[in-house]
Symmetry: C2
Subunit: 155 residues, 2 copies
DNA sequence: GTCGCGATTGAGAATCAGTCTCAACCGCCT
DNA sequence: AGGCGGTTGAGACTGATTCTCAATCGCGAC
């Protein structure tokens, strides 16, 4: 996804490309996969780009509306929500480590197929989906098994 | 899921079964599948059960921690979050109508299998997952196709 | 190049969901 | 019945997000 795409979107919807929108979007592209609003705010501030909170939220709102961004729940109890830059059309899913919060994005045709199938069974016309798999990453598995060696019962 | 189960959980964790907790949990059982905090608050108030906001949130927090409840994002842009009563162990998924917000819960072994497989491919040890399929329910499909008959191009 | 209009912005106020505080209260064990 | 510690309620508090509105900017028209 590029600046061009963003500009196209703005134009299509009779919106203006402003300095602020450009900077916010550039920063999102740099952040790649996923980020939270605080990080974005903080990084822009670090670069002396004094864009107001309101503008950042407004821009994120735009991106969400046009599907250039989506929100994702990154813990089973719904605690944290990150924004997740999302290449158009592609419903990318996340593999989230429940311990360290590491997120791996992936894109499996099988998931889309399954969703379409399930929706079809209920007479629904599928549009998109959102799958988060909560699991322990290799590093955290090691850490955990070590700890369990010491105290074998749960704390 | 029943009151018994809840009592077991409380006991296991050295927590007391109070009038308030019982009433909140009863109401959640009545609400079945999914609900939001406002609905719960409102319904309890309707019944003259003047349970404070704080207590309700505290109880929900408990249920979340012990996995008797989970949070679910019910729109692609992450707008609404519902609590979703969740029978133990079973990771149930949702089919959500993007138009009217109707939610259908389902439970497909194939989804779990796929998640386990994907996690495995990345060396992750799967624990749970959360899948929401966003689609148009039959009723809303009809409504939409009618509208499109009148104005065939996008608004 | 510059004019003008409507869209956009910034600063801070407002809102709102959720959390915290702490004294009063209650469940449960003895 | 008595007492301890967990639980509750009311409302203050917090922090994220949205709103307000005057000042500013982007961009098409001239």
């Amino acid at each position: 996804m590029s600046q061009q795409l963003f500009e196209q979107f703005l134009e299509q919807h009779c919106l203006k490309m402003t300095q602020q929108r450009r900077e916010i979007y550039e920063e999102i592209l740099k952040l790649e996969d996923h980020f939270d609003v605080d990080t974005l705010l903080w990084r822009l501030k670090q670069q002396g780009k004094a864009i107001s909170k309101a503008t950042i939220y407004r821009t994120l709102q735009l991106l969400l509306e046009y599907g250039l961004l989506k929100k994702t729940q990154v813990s089973p109890d719904g605690a944290e929500i990150l924004y997740d830059a999302c290449p158009e059309g592609c419903a990318s899913d996340n593999l989230v480590c429940t311990e360290c919060g590491k997120v791996i994005r992936f894109n499996k045709a099988a998931v889309c197929q399954l969703c379409t199938e399930i929706a079809g069974q209920h007479g629904f016309a599928p549009s998109s989906h959102c799958l988060n798999i909560f699991a322990l990453c290799p590093a955290c598995q090691q850490a955990t098994s070590k700890t369990q060696g010491e105290q074998h019962e749960k704390a």
